[in-house]
């Protein structure tokens, strides 16, 4: 692997953190895209805030290290300004399923052609162990020492299916090859795509055993079948013991937002002329 894809920034993720696997997968995919002809300069990664966000410092590509929950809104703006860019968001589960949920749902509704990779470790790592919208009900976080079992997690895959999302996949950081494939497929999909990635937080919520036991790739699942996608999405509710399907859960081609809403650009001189024309028409 090209070493120049990593910056000189000191890596501060905990030993065993799932972010490493995600960073490798993203880096591999980007490397592949470049090999296939995508100019390196036209790839932009937008991160939110949280442990995952440090990926913006570590990856030596163009990045926008944005705010907690806002990566998708920022990425939407970038894509609208320049549809030729490949725009990838790395976001956290606390980041995008809590503070940034509206942006996620609306991006799905619009079908803007960006890819969202959720580093879903189901806990706030950087603020030291509070619960997130996808924490298991039995999780006792530092802000919820009595647990949250009356407040069960929600199922982001189901939310995305309801929001009109055209590409939903679920990956797992201990299935590196598969994860890389899913991220690649999500990026090349034309339209809004999400890879909800089950990630290990080595320090606060290591669910390795639980995941290893339950993850599987469904046989013969047709990702174009919405009803089948819903069924798979409901097998596991992020709380109970159901089997956890990995892979592309749903895929549909829909016209992208930027193709519907971007007006042809004009030069400064043309704009000045337009203003002049508008004013003359008003007199």
């Amino acid at each position: 692997m090209n070493p120049s894809f990593i910056t000189d920034a000191q890596n501060t993720w905990c030993l065993g953190c799932g972010n490493f696997a995600l960073q490798h997968a993203i880096k591999d995919v980007i490397f592949g895209l470049i090999k296939d002809g995508t100019p390196r300069e036209s790839i932009v990664l937008v991160a939110g805030i949280g442990c995952h966000g440090k990926i913006a410092d570590y990856l030596n590509i163009s990045t926008f290290y944005s705010l907690h929950g806002r990566a998708i809104a920022v990425a939407t703006g970038i894509k609208l300004a320049n549809p030729d860019l490949t725009v990838i968001c790395s976001v956290g589960d606390g980041d995008t399923y809590a503070e940034g949920l509206a942006h996620l749902i609306f991006a799905a509704k619009r079908n803007i052609d960006i890819t969202v990779i959720v580093h879903n470790n189901r806990v706030y790592g950087l603020t030291k162990g509070q619960y997130t919208p996808t924490s298991p009900g039995k999780y006792h976080g530092k802000s919820t020492p009595r647990g949250i079992s009356d407040d069960p997690p929600f199922n982001p895959v189901e939310i995305l299916l309801c929001s009109g999302c055209g590409f939903i996949a679920r990956g797992y950081t201990r299935r590196q090859e598969e994860l890389t494939g899913l991220i690649h497929d999500a990026i090349v999909h034309r339209g809004f795509s999400v890879v909800d990635t089950l990630q290990i937080c080595a320090s606060f919520l290591d669910m390795t055993d639980m995941y290893n036991e339950r993850v599987y790739v469904p046989d013969g699942h047709n990702p174009e079948d919405f009803a089948a996608a819903c069924m798979i999405a409901r097998e596991w509710d992020y709380d109970s013991d159901g089997p956890i399907a990995l892979g592309t859960i749903y895929r549909k081609n829909i016209p992208t937002y930027e193709s519907r809403f971007r007006v042809p650009q004009k030069s400064d001189v043309e704009k000045a002329r337009s203003v002049d024309k508008i004013m003359r028409e008003r007199s």
Binding site: T7, E41, A73, M279, R282
Partner: protein, 556 residues
């Protein structure tokens, strides 16, 4: 000096705003200067709406007291405004709704029923009647209405003609005793002027969530989007709007957003990010009265302090505060231009009075193009650093895909290459670099001639005003032979220029639509004496006569 006020009133949904605009347009075409104030509660149907159109042979930007023509679509209009009409006023009223009133009865409803018009066409009928009452030729009226009422033209014209015919004689023909120097005058609301000013400065993207009184920019921008080449987006919230703008700017678009105070609350998070990331975003903050939701459709100048201090952390910014549509056009352009030149956020402060008020503008007096700083194009370089330091703190601005460079933009404290840092030198260096822009930013403000003096420059009494109060204070100063001073740029505060403009006046009085006297405080903070604050915080702008009266004891 010709100076007339025409009031048209009715219920929400009666088309009062449109009718006022048409009347303002008629006078603009006759060569007058017009100003329209539109007063409406936050209701879609019902409630009392009225528009005051002031027309004069000199530029006007505020209302005076006394009504020369009262056009009443309903009885509330007569009841509410009758005490303010002059003795020789013309009153035209809808005799199908109002009985036994003084003035000329026009059976508006009967006419539109006979002509099979829709209820809203009562306003067209009343406009026709009004035109006759001031002695306008029908041909001229027809010409204007054809342009201004493009839907169901023939029916509208028939109805207007019936109204025209319903007035037996000309009543105030002296209205037209003016040099009719048509010229190239046009009408613009403050919101429209801002939209056009930003486009003239090269705007590519406008993202906003609807909120009065800034909504007009969003609507107008969407209307002219294709013509102007602006991508206009209405997203899920103000938070999204601000962050999308930041993203657009990173992607190479000149982009802006607009909102009122409540929406700005939500944008402040993104504003700080833009500042830290050194992204040139422009925000229009259209003020309305009160904290929280306040009163959606009424005016205030309460957010000056907020605009200056909004955001966590310390960072440089530009704040403009235009007073009328012409100034709004120019300020919008300069806000965008300077924001890009210095890679800092810029704000344009307006208020409901300016945002939704309609003003006559002479396009020939406006700069054709206020080009925003071109993006620094950089070729393939060995090592591009987004935040590389320089003498004036400004780094080269590259956009992704442009040259083979890596552009790392960061909302966190960062090194010159855009990677986060928390070392003491790193933190201080990041702040030093941004603050190094300030001297040049101050100079840039000075170069703009940021302070305007009205009235008698040698007078010993000086009004200090900002925003939409400036045109009023200009008139008051003219009438009373005193001086008025308006800073057009509020931040960096042009303290030297304001101080020079105030000079050694023995009495300095601030006129502001707020309780506290925010400009007065700002001036005092910069060592400029302000003796008296004339506040207004009932959501309505001052009237010129009201202001004269308040000043009478002081000036006389």
């Amino acid at each position: 000096m010709a100076d007339y006020s025409i009031l048209i009133g009715g219920k929400a949904g009666d088309g009062v705003n449109r009718a006022g605009q048409v009347i303002a347009k008629i006078f603009t075409r006759l060569g007058f200067f017009s100003y329209m104030y539109y007063d409406y509660p936050s209701l879609i149907r019902g409630g009392h709406n009225y528009a005051v159109v002031r027309v004069a042979d000199h530029p006007v930007g505020g209302c005076r007291e006394g009504i020369d023509v009262l056009l009443a679509l309903d009885s509330t209009t007569l009841r509410r405004h009758k005490t303010f009409v002059r003795n020789d006023a013309v009153i035209l009223y809808n005799s199908d709704l109002v009985h036994d009133a003084e003035g000329t009865a026009i059976p508006l409803l009967s006419i539109i029923t006979e002509e099979e018009g829709s209820p809203v066409m009562a306003n067209t009928c009343l406009i026709g009647a009004f035109c006759k009452s001031i002695g306008l030729e029908w041909n001229f009226v027809e010409e204007v209405l054809r342009l201004e009422l493009p839907h169901e033209v023939e029916k509208n014209l028939r109805i207007a003609r019936r109204g025209y015919g319903a007035v037996p004689v000309e009543m105030r023909p002296e209205f037209l005793h003016l040099a009719q120097k048509g010229g190239d005058k046009i009408l613009l609301t403050g919101n429209e002027a801002i939209a056009l000013g930003m486009v003239a400065a090269g705007l590519d993207g406008y993202v906003a969530y609807p909120m009065s009184p800034a909504t007009g920019i969003l609507h107008y921008m969407a209307e002219i989007a294709e013509e102007a080449g602006v991508t206009v987006i209405h997203p899920e919230s103000e938070i999204a709007a601000m962050n999308m703008v930041a993203g657009m700017v990173y992607g190479g678009f000149r982009a802006a957003t607009g909102t009122a105070g409540g929406g700005f609350n939500l944008m402040v998070e993104g504003l700080s990010m833009a500042a830290m990331a050194e992204l040139p975003v422009t925000v229009v903050l259209a003020q309305r009265i009160g904290p929280s939701t306040g009163t959606p459709t009424y005016t205030a100048q309460e957010d000056l302090n907020y605009a200056i201090y909004a955001g966590n952390g310390e960072f440089p910014r530009f704040i403009f505060a235009p007073g009328d549509a012409g100034q709004a056009y120019e300020c919008a352009g300069h806000a965008l231009r300077l924001s890009w030149k210095y890679q800092v956020p810029s704000l344009i402060l307006t208020d409901k009075t300016l945002a939704e008020g309609t003003y006559t503008v002479e396009p020939s007096t406006l700069p054709e193009l206020i080009p925003a700083q071109a993006i620094t194009r950089i070729g393939p370089v060995e090592e591009y650093r987004r935040y590389s330091d320089s003498e004036d703190g400004i780094s080269p601005y590259a956009i992704p895909g442009d040259g083979s460079v890596t552009i790392k933009v960061n909302s966190k404290t960062h090194r010159p290459d855009g990677i986060s840092t928390d070392t003491p030198e790193g933190i201080a260096g990041c702040i030093d670099k941004q603050m190094r822009k300030l001297p040049a930013m101050r100079q840039e403000v000075s170069d703009l001639r940021p302070v305007i003096i009205y009235g008698n420059p040698d007078a010993e009494i000086c009004l200090l005003c900002w925003g939409s109060n400036a045109p009023l204070c200009r008139e008051v100063a003219g009438r009373l032979g005193i001086k008025a001073v308006q800073p057009l740029v509020m931040w960096p505060f042009p303290a030297g220029e304001v101080s020079d403009a105030v000079g050694d006046s023995w009495m300095v009085i601030s006129v502001e639509d707020n309780y506290a006297g925010q400009l007065a405080d700002l001036a005092r903070h910069h060592g400029i004496r302000v003796d008296l604050h004339i506040p207004k915080y009932d959501g309505r702008p001052h009237s010129i006569d009201g202001l004269v009266e308040l000043l009478w004891g002081v000036v006389a």
